[in-house]
């Protein structure tokens, strides 16, 4: 009994210590950690491509977060870090693509499509109005003829 109790005590002893060790980086400097996470949300994890490195627990994402943390500690600006990352991994790593000549279609393409849609809509509405005018120009005789045809029993 006492041997068991001793074992339990022994096992439970290092647990809180280990836990404290793991949580340390966040506790160390919450402001920095917040900054790291904010920046990490802008960077794509290239292993699990639809996640940011803030969301992902892939080893690469952890390494990249550490890299971001280190660079922030060295006093680098957000822009400098983002441009460092895109110079190493390509623009694909940026979750929000930069606006430049190669991304114009990406940024303004949807707007172009909406404009195109509006043009088509206006064109179709005009066609419709013309058609309606034709219908309104039907003479009284024709109306009467149509009415009698419709009331005929088959």
């Amino acid at each position: 009994m006492s041997k068991n109790l001793f074992l339990v005590l022994l096992l439970s002893l290092p647990l809180p210590l280990a836990h404290a060790g793991e949580a340390k980086p966040t506790a160390e400097d919450p402001v920095l950690e917040k900054h790291v996470m904010a920046l990490s949300h802008k960077l794509r994890c290239l292993v699990c491509q639809n996640q940011t490195i803030a969301d992902s627990n892939a080893e690469l994402a952890i390494d990249l977060r550490n890299q971001v943390r280190e660079k922030l500690k060295q006093g680098e600006s957000d822009e400098a870090i983002l441009s460092y990352m895109s110079s190493r991994y390509g623009d694909f790593i940026l979750f929000q693509p930069m606006v430049k000549s190669t991304t114009w279609l990406l940024w303004f393409g949807p707007l172009l499509l909406v404009l195109l849609g509006i043009c088509v809509l206006i064109f179709m509405l005009r066609q419709r109005r013309k058609l309606m005018q034709k219908v309104q120009n039907i003479s009284d005789e024709d109306h009467a003829r149509a009415a009698s045809l419709l009331s005929e029993k088959i």
Partner: protein, 174 residues
């Protein structure tokens, strides 16, 4: 009659776009480092921690940097090809042992053959990040002026060899 073809045209163009989209490999992100100077590093050697290795030492020759690790399954697939390349002296291959334990890396090379002239030891993976490594294996062909000329993402396949060898010849000025 003409109007009837409009949905067909839209459908066919959608299929074409989808086809192209599906045939691309999203894992292969083109590296912005191709055509740029190789990022500098000075790392301890895998086999001898007291010695270092740097791309600086290799200026003046065409060489291949192969990023690999003992825990990497795909590395094992490409390994025989690297060994064969080394045997035929196609290009000097330098290894970058990425996020590995030193003894594991050495043991792995002892088991499977060592194609590397020298291997650098990147325990923390920092140099890997600097080179834009996101999945091992990755290989970079560096020219005499220290410019990265080509990158292979994933295992080098026999089908890549023709292109790679032509490029090596060209860079060597043959």
């Amino acid at each position: 009659m003409k109007r009837a073809f409009i949905p067909l045209v839209i459908f066919v163009s959608l299929v074409v776009f989808l086809w192209i989209g599906l045939s691309l490999n999203p894992r292969e992100v083109p590296s912005p480092l191709v055509g740029k100077p190789a990022p500098m590093f000075r790392l301890p050697q895998l086999h001898d921690a007291s010695q270092t290795i740097s791309p600086e030492d290799l200026l003046g020759k065409v060489w291949l940097l192969n990023v690999w690790a003992s825990w990497c399954e795909t590395c094992l697939q490409e390994h025989p090809l690297l060994v064969a390349m080394a045997q035929r002296n196609i290009v000097p291959i330098y290894g970058l042992n990425y996020k590995d334990k030193r003894e594991d890396g050495i043991a792995w090379l002892n088991n499977h053959g060592n194609p590397y002239v020298l291997a650098a030891y990147d325990r923390a993976g920092k140099v890997g990040i600097d080179w834009g490594v996101y999945g091992v294996p990755e290989s970079f062909l560096v020219d005499k002026a220290g410019i990265i000329r080509h990158k292979v993402i994933g295992a080098i396949k026999p089908s890549d060899m023709q292109q790679l060898m032509a490029l090596i010849k060209e860079l060597n000025g043959e």
